[in-house]
Amino acid sequence: MSDYLSIRDLKFSYPDNQFQLSIKTLQVRQGERIAVVGPSGSGKTTLLNLIAGIVLPDAGTIMIGDQPVVAMPESQRRQFRIRNIGLVFQNFELIEYLTNLENILLVDYIEKPVAVVRVERAKVLAEKAGLSQNLFRYPHQLSQGEKQRVAICRALLTEPSLLLADEPTGNLDANNKENIMSILLDYAASNNSTLITVTHDQNLLPLFDRIIDFNELVAATEAGGR
C-alpha cells in the first residue's frame, strides 16, 4: 500500500497561548485504520484539524494523496475537504434545527443544490445505520448513539477517502461504542478509505491496524530535532 497521508516537519502554535505542536514525520497508507492515543490537551484534535485543513501550520507540509493541503488556496482547501474528508466529532455537532435527513445532507446544502441521488444515498446510509425511522425527526429526539450515527452518515455522504474521527465514542455507552466503531471500520475497509481515530478507549485499540501514541510521535520529533 502506498502512502496516502504524509506529514513532514509540521510546526503549529496558537497565537494566544504557549501550546506548540511539532511533528517531524507521519506516514499513513491508503486504507490504513489508525488509532491515535494520548493525554488530553496534547494536541490530538489539533492534528486532525491540521490534516483537514481547518487550521494551517506555521511550517511543514501535509500531503493527502498528491494534494498539498497547506499550499492550497482557502477555497480550494475547503472544496477538497468537502469532497475527500469526512469529519466525526465527539459531541456529534448536529444542527438542532435540521431534521436528521437534512443533517446528513448538510454538506450538500452548503456546497450545491441537493440532488435526488444524494438524498437516496443519505437514505441508504441511514438505513444501514438503523436510522430509517428517524429521518424526519430532530436530533434532540434521538439517543446519544443515534445522534452519533447521524453524524457518521453525514461524514460518509460524500464517500470520503479520508475519515477523521475525534473521540467518536467518547460520549457513548459500551454497546453504542462497538456499534459506532464497527460502522466506521467497516466503511474504511469496504472503501479502502483511510481512518484516523482519536480515542481514549483502550478496549477499542485492537480493532485498528496501527496505534500511534501521540506523546511518542511528538517526542520523536523533539529527539530528532536535537
Partner: protein, 394 residues
C-alpha cells in the same frame, strides 16, 4: 444559494416563537407610524366630509361641539333642546331648507332620530328594502341596525323608556319597521329614523287612548265640564300606533314649545348663510354653528395630539428596533458554535454570513409585509374604530 435560503428558512421555522416575535416587532415598527397616519387621515376625511355636507346647525346655546357631534354623528350627550317654534321661526325666514332633529331616545343602544322626510333626501339615503316613513309610529332603520339586531321590514322595535320610574313620564313606544336603508358607512347606518311627531309621542307630548266621547267609555269618566273630560287611571293608553288606533292619537299643549335637539340649516346661498349667521350671532338662547368649522377645530386638537403620539411612537419604534437588533446579535452569539461546525464541515465564511443575512432578510420582509397588511386593514376597517374613539373621547 438555494441551500442557503433553505437553511435560513429551517432555522426560522424551528425557532418559530422567536421568529414570530421578531416579525411582529418589525411589523409594529412599520405599522404604528404608517397606520396612525392613515387612520387619522381617513378619519379626519370622513368626519370632515359629513360636516362639510352640513352647512349650518341650529341649537340651544351651550357647547357647540356637543351640538355638532350630536347633530352629525348622533354621539355625545344629547344637547339641551330648542323649541319647535325656533325651528318654525327660521323656516319662516325662507332663507333655505331646514330639517329638525330630535335625538333624545334610543332603542337597543341605537339612537332614534326624529326628523322629516327631507332628511333622507338631504343625506342621499337610499332604501334597501321597504318604504319611507308614511305614518306615525313607523321607523326606518340603518344598515348596521338591521345587521346587528336581525330586524327586517314588518318587525317591531321598542324605544327604551327614558323615565322608567316616573309614572307621569314617557312610556316605551312599539314602532313598526317599514324600511331598511342601504349601507352608507356614515352614522346613519346606526340610526333608527322616525317622524319627528313619533319622537314627541315618545316624549309623552302626544298619545292615543280610549275615545272618552263614546258611550261605552262612561266608566272611565270622573268629571265632564263641556269639552273638558277628566278620566280615571283605568283609561287605556296605547303603546303601539296601529291603523285602528292612529286616529285617536293627538298632541296636547302648544306645539311651538315642543323639543327638537338640532336643526340642520341649508341656506340658499352664501349670502343667506352670512345673514343667518349674523342674525344668530348674539342670540340669547340659540346658537347657529358651522359644523365644518367646529370639526376643523376638533381635528386641529387631534392633529396636535398626533404629533405627541408620533414622537412617542418613534421612541417605541427605536426601542423595538434596538430590541430586534439585540435579539439578532444574541442569537448569533448563541449560534457561534453551530457556525464554527459549519465552517469545519466546509462552509465558507461568506456562506455563514449569507445564511444569517437570509434569515434577517426573511424576517425583515415578513415584518414589513405584516406592517403593510395591518396598515391596509386599518385603512379599511380602522376608521369606524377611530371615529368612535374620537367622538366618545370628546
Amino acid at each position: 444559494m438555494k441551500g442557503l435560503w433553505h437553511l435560513a428558512w429551517r432555522y426560522l421555522c424551528f425557532h418559530k416563537y422567536k421568529t414570530l416575535v421578531l416579525v411582529a416587532s418589525i411589523g409594529l415598527i412599520v405599522f404604528i407610524p404608517m397606520g396612525l397616519n392613515v387612520l387619522v387621515k381617513k378619519g379626519s376625511e370622513q368626519l370632515t366630509a359629513r360636516a362639510e355636507q352640513t352647512p349650518l346647525m341650529l341649537g340651544r346655546v351651550g357647547s357647540p361641539l356637543e351640538l355638532v357631534l350630536n347633530g352629525l354623528y348622533f354621539q355625545s350627550d344629547t344637547p339641551p333642546p330648542l323649541n319647535f317654534g325656533d325651528y318654525l321661526a327660521i323656516k319662516d325666514m325662507d332663507m333655505g331648507q331646514v330639517i329638525p332633529l330630535h335625538t333624545g331616545f334610543r332603542s337597543r343602544g341605537f339612537p332614534i332620530i326624529g326628523t322629516r322626510l327631507s332628511y333622507f333626501s338631504f343625506r342621499r339615503l337610499a332604501l334597501k328594502e321597504g318604504r319611507w316613513l308614511g305614518f306615525l309610529g313607523e321607523a326606518v332603520i340603518g344598515a348596521s341596525v338591521a345587521r346587528e339586531t336581525d330586524l327586517q321590514v314588518g318587525d317591531t322595535i321598542i324605544s327604551a323608556p327614558e323615565t322608567a320610574f316616573n309614572l307621569a313620564g314617557a312610556y316605551p313606544l312599539k314602532m313598526t319597521i317599514v324600511g331598511v336603508m342601504g349601507k352608507t358607512s356614515t352614522p346613519d347606518d346606526d340610526a333608527i329614523l322616525v317622524d319627528l311627531k313619533t319622537s314627541w309621542v315618545m316624549e309623552g307630548l302626544g298619545h292615543g287612548h280610549t275615545d272618552l266621547s263614546k258611550d261605552d267609555a262612561s266608566g272611565f269618566i270622573l268629571n265632564q265640564n263641556g269639552k273638558s273630560i277628566t278620566a280615571n287611571a283605568a283609561v287605556n293608553q296605547f303603546q303601539e300606533i296601529t291603523p285602528e288606533n292612529i286616529g285617536s292619537f293627538h298632541f296636547h299643549g302648544n306645539i311651538g314649545t315642543y323639543p327638537v335637539h338640532a336643526v340642520i340649516v341649508i341656506p340658499k346661498d352664501q349670502k343667506y348663510s352670512a345673514l343667518l349667521q349674523g342674525r344668530y350671532q348674539s342670540h340669547a338662547t340659540l346658537q347657529l354653528q358651522n359644523p365644518a368649522s367646529i370639526i376643523g377645530k376638533l381635528l386641529e386638537t387631534v392633529f396636535s395630539v398626533r404629533q405627541y403620539v408620533l414622537i412617542g411612537a418613534s421612541l417605541m419604534v427605536l426601542s423595538a428596533g434596538a430590541m430586534s437588533v439585540l435579539i439578532f446579535m444574541l442569537s448569533q452569539q448563541l449560534r457561534a458554535h453551530e457556525l464554527v461546525v459549519m465552517k469545519k464541515i466546509g462552509a465558507a465564511k461568506g456562506f455563514v454570513v449569507g445564511m444569517v443575512t437570509c434569515e434577517i432578510v426573511m424576517v425583515m420582509v415578513s415584518g414589513v409585509l405584516l406592517g403593510m397588511i395591518l396598515t391596509l386593514l386599518s385603512e379599511k376597517y380602522g376608521l369606524v374604530l377611530l371615529q368612535s374613539i374620537i367622538v366618545s373621547g370628546v
